[in-house]
């Protein structure tokens, strides 16, 4: 059923009795051409693009929980393509372009909202770094503006300009950045994939990867063995766990990142603002809650919950940036498991096993990458060659010394 104002009207007049499931609840078939492990944003997007753009017919997405139960459903919903390095920049801009046409493409309103992403800077060194970054963006045709203090003040007058420990000297603005209703991304891709006959199998946990003669033949799951021609892993924070089933050890650590939402408020902040003198970023959802976060807690974790000290640090940075936050209340905190890579950049590549494909290492930046990640992973799976914007995301880059280290922190995931 196509969604539109008309379908809403028609169904409303008929008592909303005729809505169809957004996706089926299929039984697993014995064999698929492609199995994607992980029914999160990236896995569902991969399935969608495989079916829609690359003509692959017989696809399953296996999800151990419910679709969107991982990071696509627990992030701060920010999209941006303000990347510095040539290995990243075109990929994230592809993602931004896909976001811009996504809703009409998959016929689901994910509320892609380009209200701008503003990164504040507080020192000459930070200004220079933002200058370098903004110019790198401009070189690839990505929109970027470097604002001075007065321009930032005109845009967001309620930041702490007068009493700050680290005065705001300006900001790097990407007007095309913004937010997206995160759950809807998973649902839109799921519905779009399902309508193209992709089997989305929820409650199906992969417990083993069966191999013969160095090739994957299928997966053992909580719902029995399922054969496949190609196996694609998009398991985010659980990537190391799944890869281990194929005896692969990955350059990843799983870390917990907390995020938060405040009580609902009338419009308070328009775009996304990122503090430069502490770990804090905030936006306001269409529903009215301030959605914000900070740094990862800093230790390996699979627990999806964080630490009070980190909560306090985030609140401190928030209040330092916007003093008026003080009397507003935080409603809920949550934790997601980040697949932190050793250089802070992702991996979309084949593996040493011929028909096993890997999509991992998204750190805390996976959400914004969802469309391009799915598109490029689908390209890789279908054509056995990387998409032109994702050639740098090789698994062997660590061994060969071609790192994509935006922060320059080296092989220390909790510093990325």
């Amino acid at each position: 059923m196509r969604y539109s104002a008309l379908s809403l009207l028609w169904n409303g007049l008929r008592g909303n009795r005729d809505w169809k499931p957004a996706w089926r609840q299929p039984q697993p078939k014995p064999h698929y051409d492609v199995i994607i492990v992980g029914g999160g944003g990236h896995g569902l997007a991969t399935a969608y693009y495989l079916a829609k753009e690359f003509g692959i017919a017989n696809i399953a997405v296996l999800e151990k929980n419910y679709i969107g139960s991982g990071n696509v459903g627990r992030n701060t919903t920010i999209i941006r393509s303000n990347y510095l390095l040539p290995g990243n920049n075109p990929f994230y801009e592809l993602s931004m372009k896909l976001w811009e046409g996504l809703e009409r493409d998959f016929n689901f309103n994910a509320m892609v909202s380009q209200r701008g992403v503003l990164n504040l800077y507080h020192s000459d060194a930070q200004r220079d770094a933002n200058m370098r970054r903004g110019n790198a963006m401009r070189l690839h045709g990505v929109d970027a503006e470097l604002l001075d203090t007065d321009e930032v003040r005109r845009m967001v007058p309620f930041l702490d300009f007068d009493n700050a420990r680290f005065p705001i000297k300006g900001g790097l603005l990407q007007r095309r950045g913004g937010t997206v209703r995160h759950d809807a991304v998973a649902w839109g891709y799921a519905r779009g994939a399902d309508s193209r006959d992709v089997d989305i199998i929820q409650g199906c946990e992969v417990t083993g990867i069966r191999r013969e003669n160095g090739r994957v033949t299928g997966v053992e799951t909580s719902r029995g063995f399922i054969g496949c021609g190609k196996l694609a892993l998009a398991a985010a924070g659980n990537s190391s766990q799944v890869a281990r089933m194929a005896d692969l050890k990955l350059p990843l650590e799983s870390h917990v990142l907390q995020a938060f939402v405040s009580e609902g408020l009338k419009p308070f902040i328009d775009g996304v603002i990122t503090f430069g003198a502490g770990h804090f970023y905030v936006s306001q959802s269409d529903k009215g809650g301030l959605v914000f976060g900070g740094d990862i807690d800093g230790y390996n974790s699979y627990a999806q919950r964080g630490n009070l000290a980190t909560v306090e640090h985030v609140a401190e940075a928030g209040k330092a940036m916007i003093p008026a936050l003080s009397r507003l209340r935080v409603l809920r905190s949550w934790g997601g498991i980040m697949d932190m890579s050793m250089d802070g950049s992702p991996i979309i590549d084949r593996t040493l096993i011929d028909n096993l494909y890997l999509n991992a290492g998204w750190c805390y930046g996976g959400f914004k990458a969802t469309p391009a990640s799915g598109f490029c992973f689908a390209h890789l799976i279908a054509r056995n060659a990387p998409h032109e914007t994702a050639t740098a995301f090789r698994l062997d880059r660590f061994q060969r010394g071609y790192l994509i280290d935006e922060k320059g922190q080296g092989a220390q995931p909790n510093l990325h």
């Binding site: 650590e253 390996n300 699979y302 627990a303 092989a411 995931p413």
Partner: protein
Amino acid sequence: MASLVPCPHCGSRPKEEFTVKGAALKRPSPEAGADAWFDYVYLRDNPRGGYEEYWHHTAGCRRWLIVDRDTATHQVTSCRDAASASAKEHGA
């Protein structure tokens, strides 16, 4: 983690006093070869469960510790001084 880390020198102390480095791995010898070094610097078991990692009591005794911690439950099962721990390994 835990909110508290049982430092063998200082007792139970809040996590904010510590700096986490990551997996407590043995540094290869200089001649170990490229693969061993790649493994040491870049690859991680990243287990769900028991995990030995280096924590530094930065705002305390400034000793590097090996914390044995469960990454699924955050339970800390042991915490020992890294020097004495590795000394044990070398001496045994």
